[in-house]
Amino acid sequence: MFQYEAPEGAQMIQVWINGKEWQVPEGLTMIQAMWYTGHEVIHGIGCLGGVCGACAAVYRMPGNFRLFNALACQTLVKEGMAFSLIASYPTQRAQYDIEQIPDAKEGLFTLYPESATCRNCNACTEVCPQGIDVRTSVWQAAFGDFKGVAETTMSCVMCGLCVSRCIAEMAPHEIALYARRAYGSRELAFPENLRQRMDSVASGTYDEELERLSRLSPDQLKLECGVK
């Protein structure tokens, strides 16, 4: 069966997975290093393409006091790396229907009252594996600049690592999600080209032609659709 191969001639390096020492070839991601050493990974794995946020990980490098974070499916192991997956980080999430909230701006403080308590430490930005300026997004949300939040946090994969570091104990990714949704649902004008097309579909403009096409013989249909 298909395997993720380390490069030919790859050197073996030493890593620590969940505190245990292993030798693995260089050129593997953290997840691939776990497979290589026989780990079955189910919690902490999802798309393997860097967008689902399932594989948040924390690691340290030798001789460096700093704690690093990463997505394990996208991050290569390095000599001396010690890492663990944080498959899930407990988070409070608000219950709401975005279309029913009386005032979208006020709604943020009702649902996430802690969102105005940022102490500006910037740990959330430093921890973000997507390189998002999380602190700025929290302030944009608090000041009601939901459009700004949408732009700042577009690449958020909802891994929750920002929650793990926030000294104000908020969930910046959930706050950003609310702000983005409020912007899209409540502030941004509904697109006119879509409204017009919905109207013409609803008034049955295309029904007759679509029904006629559906009833054609395969050969007739091929003839009608074949020409660009």
Partner: protein
């Protein structure tokens, strides 16, 4: 003593100079010949003829035949006895937590059904969340659902189901409007209209997108609404077998809690399979762009129960999957980069195919280059061709790649490839299951009480799919089938748990023994691909 090992060969060390001369267009017969010789669907090797089940006689890829003609994973000999009571009773059981499963659950709940959504990993871990390029919806002034229909039918090589397609194009605008009202942010043009972009094989610009994060943007929003909807959600609980009720109908399923191995017996008036595709079977040993759980579980379970499959010989090998760095093998580079002007070159720096040919033609041309020695060798011993995005910035202005494809720039950058300056090495990657479980426009399969939506279903795309139509299918049919299945579940004549059994599995296994006497058959659904190298019996 340490032995000096030779340094790794970097395919970027000796880049050829790129010759921009455009290759000539293929004639229809050249195109056909290229596909016949190089496209995996048409090659005779690695194929098996099915002997058992509703599709006996079909010639399918070995890996698909192997999971279809398989035994239950529940027991080597005797299947487990049905317990005296089910663990849970619901109107609708939705199996799968990707785009289709989430939509179906939300709308079934709104229709008044008690809904259980069971999924193998977390809600949202799916191919939907990975969709980069966009959704097709006919919004242009010179465009219409009729034009969309014609493009999709032609794009499917005239093999799609016209009725299914007609629903898809007609309901598209409405389902997009629902997403927007929920707060999904699609790219807008300066006047506030949804921006429309051109995809391969279409006559009009018709792709709406959220940069190259389209699937992620939608799933973030939908997942939150699902969690707030009142649907019961069981994660890490894949279905391993369907349950049979009166007259061969579907009456629920057995789920397996992957954390403690326990089986959960679900009684349901209706079961909706939204289990997605099969990329993780690595058909033909291709790398895949699919998420970790794409192992075709729904196909296996439905086939045992007698459901018919459609076009299961047909897969989409997306032409541009990353092949180097090797740890990224299979990761998709969206077709939209070619739409924006990216060019492809072989080892000698020559272009070898017009980049906006249909996906199957482009993939075949790449395979041809590599098989005929014009591919670039990677340090893992694979071959690929160069996909150069720098032309986009040259033609459309510095910074365009960064602005339109931030996700690709970010992901390649994490692996030390600056794709705004360097080409990406690509090779076709197993991307999409064109066929699937046959159904009508309400998602009804040949088995009463069993429904299907999304990539697990077949018919809409026929034998080829155009970019952006699968994402539309997921939302149009997810919603529609969720509502229909809920309505029929609420109207279904009550049946007793005592009528529930695994007779269909027993029957299927008897047929297997008849056709393959004395040989052991593989077990399925396989649930998870196994890439482990050590400490595992298969690798001992």
């Amino acid at each position: 003593m340490t032995v000096e090992k030779p340094p790794l060969i970097n395919p970027y060390d000796n880049l050829p100079s790129f010759d921009l001369a455009e290759p000539k267009a293929y004639s229809p017969s050249e195109r056909e010949e290229l596909l016949r010789r190089y496209y995996p669907d048409y090659r005779p090797d690695r194929k098996t003829t099915l002997h058992v089940g509703a599709n006996a006689g079909d010639v399918l890829p070995d890996e698909i035949a192997s999971i279809l003609e398989s035994r239950s994973i529940l027991s080597k000999n005797v299947l487990p006895a049905v317990p005296s009571t089910p663990d849970i009773e619901v109107d609708l059981l939705v199996i799968g937590g990707g785009g289709a499963g989430i939509m179906a659950s939300i709308f079934a709940m709104e229709a008044g059904a008690r809904v259980l959504l069971a999924t193998k990993l977390r809600v949202g871990d799916s191919n939907t969340v990975m969709a980069e390029g966009g959704i097709q919806v006919a919004l242009g002034e010179d465009d219409s659902p009729v034009q969309h229909f014609k493009d999709a039918y032609r794009g499917g090589h005239f093999t799609g189901d016209p009725e299914l397609l007609s629903v898809l194009v007609r309901e598209g605008p409405d389902v997009i409007s629902w997403l927007i009202r929920k707060g999904v942010l699609f790219d807008r043009d300066p006047s506030g209209n949804l921006s429309l972009r051109k995809g391969g094989g279409t006559t009009r610009p018709r792709l709406i997108s959220a940069k190259d994060y389209t699937g992620l943007e939608i799933v973030r929003v939908l997942k939150e609404d699902l969690l707030n909807s009142g649907v019961t959600i069981w994660e890490f609980s894949p279905a391993v077998e369907l349950l049979q009720g009166p007259e061969g109908s579907c009456a629920g399923a057995i789920l397996k809690d992957v954390d403690n191995g326990s089986l959960k017996w679900v009684k349901a008036n209706a079961v909706l399979l939204a289990t997605g595709g099969t990329g993780r079977l690595h058909i033909g040993d291709f790398a895949t762009s699919n998420h970790f759980g794409a192992t075709g579980d729904g196909l296996v379970m439905a086939y045992r129960m007698g459901a018919k499959l459609l076009n299961m010989e047909s897969f989409q090998y997306h032409p541009t999957g990353v092949i180097y760095p090797s740890e990224m093998a299979g990761m998709l580079i969206t077709e939209a980069v070619r739409g924006a002007g990216a060019r492809m070159f072989n080892r000698h720096g020559k272009r070898f195919v017009q980049e906006l040919e249909t996906r199957d033609v482009v993939a075949s041309a790449i395979i041809r280059e590599c098989e005929e020695g014009r591919g670039v060798r990677t340090p893992s011993g694979h071959h690929g061709v160069y996909l150069d995005l720098t032309a986009i910035d040259r033609e459309m202005g510095e910074g365009t790649v960064e602005r339109r494809f931030p996700n690709i720039v970010k992901l390649m950058g994490k692996h030390q490839v600056d794709c705004t300056k360097q080409p990406i090495l690509v090779y076709p990657t197993l991307h999409y299951q064109n066929g699937g479980i046959a159904s009508d426009t309400s998602g009804r399969t040949h088995v009463k009480g069993l429904y299907v939506a999304g990539e697990a279903s077949g018919g809409v795309h026929g034998k080829n799919r155009l970019m952006g139509n699968s994402l539309l299918e997921v939302f149009v049919y997810g919603r529609r089938v969720g509502e229909e299945a809920a309505r029929e579940a609420l109207e279904r004549k009550p049946f007793s748990w005592h009528e529930v059994n695994l007779g269909h599995v027993e029957g299927f296994q008897k047929n297997l023994e008849k056709e393959f006497p004395g040989t052991s058959r593989p077990e399925a659904p396989i649930l998870f691909p196994d890439y482990r190298k050590h400490s595992h019996p298969d690798h001992a």
